[in-house]
Amino acid sequence: MNSDLDLFLWLIFPYICLTIFVLGHVWRYRYDKFGWTSRSSQMYERDILRWANPMFHFGILAVFLGHVMGLGVPQTWTAAVGISEGMYHFLAISIGVVAGIGTIVGFVGLVYRRRFTKAVMGATSRMDKLMYLVLGLVIVLGLVNTGSQLVGDYNYRGGVSVWFRSIFYLSPKPDLMVAAPLSFQIHAILAIGLFALWPFTRLVHVFTAPLGYVFRPYILYRTRDAHEGSRSRRRGWDKVDTIPRRR
């Protein structure tokens, strides 16, 4: 049976972090829309950013899709559409390694410019530094895990993935994580921890990725009444209506 620590790590901690993740974003969106930005530092430094930033972002987007595939789609489903285990792993590892290396190289470039460009360093908050540390560790361990598939024989799709989905089914299976290799365990814990940090960092910009741009008209009009200050009025603080008069 599980020790208390195992139970905390693989059952309680994920729920705490996911709760912080969800409520934190709701709170941040309601109370800090003004702070909701990617906080670009391109004005300060562009030569490294020019290659490192797209490399990191496109890499991490590929990594994200890989996780959707690996964690979200059960093994039985891929088998049902005729993708053999060997085929799946070949694809997962080859694409995963390329995306992972791209992400890490981009990440290193970004951290380098952040550390060694004085203006960028000056614009870096403590939360940024903590976030970079956790994110960096998660990415490195993720690449280690992907690479370990070449030598090891741990089938994460029967272990980690099932545990991950079980959290959302509300019938968590912590035993599966207890049985996972250490590198997977650390990767998972740090990643879960990152979700708890997420709403309080600049990472929030992910959730306002401007995909609607493709569909909206170019020129936007707003009437003045649709834009009445930036603070929404709380209940009980409605304004007394003015008697119309010539100004």
């Binding site: 702070g35 906080r39 670009s40 300060y44 797209p54 995909l211 936007l220 707003r222 003045r224």
Partner: protein, 565 residues
């Protein structure tokens, strides 16, 4: 027909003395904040010159504004929607802080804390980005008044388009100032480039604003704006821009740059335009046709059909009346002396300029000829191709004919009005030679030269039915958001709160009833006059300070501060 109203500005460049009062007052009001050091909603450029940020007019480099695709349709010069999204991680055409300037301050503390030493302590410049010692190499106005120097002007993109021969001669020829704010375009490329949709054009008055709560700092609007009037705040990570002082405009006051303009060269008023024809006009194939095309988009507020459509579009009657009295309409559509800045960017800008005649007048006067005679001026306009081609590069996509026409009108006005002012017989042939009547000429003279406050600024207040919607603005600062320019009233910036707290400020300028009176300035006892001319400089002048003993004998004046004690 879709009638819309647009608040617009015209600047009379002949009157600009390059004093930068507009820039300074604008800066004090809007961008006197950390992170906004390089943000000048209003700046004044010396022309010829590189402008601010440097060489912003070189659209082959910065890719601002619109262009036509192969099918003749408008597209953003920096690329379409997918290109825009794909370059979001590293905007390829974004100016860096060095294209503006590295903000700095001085180590003033050293002046008071330096130990006793042989030499005077100095306040060294410190970079506001790194906190280290820095060398100041550029700023918002570094090339002020340096139009002639090759070092500063060989990069002028407008000059680069003028022919080689002219470029060699320009330095002996002319210099003028170009004050710039956001153009509040009818077809704004910044709005189109914003991936989030945070930038919008106000339906009522056409003012283009950035919703600071929605801006996510993707920076594409900075590239999109060909005038580079979208500024990235490097502290907040959001973009800011000229607001056309909308809190002032809404209560019928001119923008702060206009209000404080020493040369009184700015005009504010409404233009009615047909929103349905904007895109068509902006897509005019020949870029030299864009000036005319934009003028055709404007509607005549005296036309019954326009009035009917304006009512249908919900434009209130007093706004239509203001559009009739608009000085902007007179200068753009009636006298046709105002020209748009860089119409070739296809954004349909709405801050227009009356090109300066002074280079021509100066050139004539230097020859010893009469610089006020229209024959001399006309001949000079014909001969002095250099300033005219340069002005055409700024205002008409290189077509010299409209610039020529405007300068002739201005020259004719000078000459015609001189005759009248000297008490000579007015020569009606002069206005006729530029296609105007004598009456039009005197009206134009009144608007341009006399330039009364009420004629320069015809600003209908936001409509009274909407008054309750303006409560935020009337009772608290609408910019009072975290980190915003109006942050927190008398919060940490004690000085700002103090200035706002001087009640007399408003009252003493209360020519506008909208501002209200009721200033708490103590009133003087009746009959006491202060005459400083009689004061010998010793003691206190009679009547300047309330006298307690005196006050007690006049208990009829309750407002006297002395009576309380």
């Amino acid at each position: 027909m879709q009638v819309m109203a647009q608040m617009a500005m015209v600047m009379n460049l002949d009157k600009c003395i390059g004093c930068h009062t507009c820039s300074v007052t604008c800066k004090q009001v809007w961008t006197n904040r950390s992170g906004a050091e390089h943000i000048w909603f209003n700046n004044v450029e010396t022309r010829p010159g590189q402008g601010y940020p440097r060489t912003y007019e070189d659209q082959e480099r910065w890719k601002g504004g619109w262009t036509l695709n192969r099918r003749g349709r408008l597209k953003l010069k920096a690329g379409g929607r997918l290109k825009n999204l794909s370059t979001i991680f590293a905007a390829p055409y974004l100016p860096g802080i060095k294209d503006y300037y590295e903000p700095w301050t001085y180590d003033y503390e050293n002046l008071t804390t330096a130990p006793a030493q042989k030499h005077m302590p100095v306040a060294r410049p410190k970079s506001l980005l790194t906190g280290e010692n820095t060398t100041i190499t550029w700023s918002s106005n570094w090339d002020d008044d340096l139009a002639g120097s090759v070092e500063n002007t060989h990069n002028d993109p407008v000059l680069a388009k003028v022919s080689e021969k002219i470029r060699f001669e320009y330095e002996q020829t002319f210099m003028f100032y170009l004050p710039r704010i956001c153009e509040h375009c009818l077809n704004p490329a910044c709005v189109a480039a914003c991936p989030t949709g945070a930038i919008y054009k106000r339906a009522e008055d056409g003012i283009v604003l950035v919703d600071q709560d929605r801006c996510r700092g993707w920076r594409q609007c900075v590239t999109g704006c060909p005038y580079k009037k979208m500024y990235f705040n490097h502290k907040t990570g959001k973009v800011e821009k000229c607001t056309f002082c909308y809190p002032r405009i809404e209560v019928g006051q001119p923008t702060i740059c206009s209000e404080t303009c020493v040369g009184r060269l700015r005009y504010l008023g409404l233009m009615l335009y047909d929103a349905d024809r904007v895109l068509e006009a902006a897509a005019t194939p020949d870029e030299r046709g864009l000036y005319e095309a934009q003028r055709d988009v404007f509607l005549d507020p005296n036309d019954p059909e326009v009035i009917r459509e304006a009512h249908a579009a919900g434009i209130p009657e007093d706004w239509i009346e203001a559009a009739r009295r608009s000085p902007i309409r007179a200068l753009i559509s009636d006298y046709k002396v105002a020209l748009p800045l860089h119409p070739e960017y296809r954004t349909m800008p709405m801050v227009w300029y009356i090109p300066p005649l002074s280079p021509v007048v100066d050139a004539v006067s230097e020859t010893g000829e009469d610089g006020e005679r229209h024959e001399n001026l006309f001949a000079a306009i014909d001969r002095l191709r250099i300033p005219i081609e340069y002005l055409a590069g700024l205002f008409t996509a290189g077509d010299t004919r409209p610039v020529d026409g405007v300068l002739r009108k201005l020259a004719a006005m000078r000459s015609y009005m001189r005759d009248i002012n000297m008490g000579w017989e007015p020569n009606e042939a002069i206005p006729e030679s530029v296609g105007m009547t004598g009456q039009q000429m005197t009206d134009m003279y009144r608007l341009l030269a006399i330039a009364k406050y009420n004629e320069r600024y015809v600003i209908p207040p936001a409509h009274y039915e909407d008054a309750h919607k303006l409560e935020n603005i009337a009772t608290e600062c609408s910019l009072d958001v975290d980190g915003g320019p109006g942050m927190g009233g008398s919060g940490d910036t004690g000085g700002m709160g103090g200035i706002g707290g001087i009640g007399g400020m408003d009252g003493s300028f209360a020519e506008n009833p909208a501002r209200g009176g009721g200033s708490p300035v103590p009133s003087r006892p009746e009959g006491v006059r202060i005459n400083l001319l009689n004061w010998n400089g010793r003691g206190t002048p009679e009547g300047l300070f309330p006298d307690a003993a005196d006050a007690s004998t006049k208990p009829t004046d309750p407002a006297h501060p002395g009576t309380g004690g």
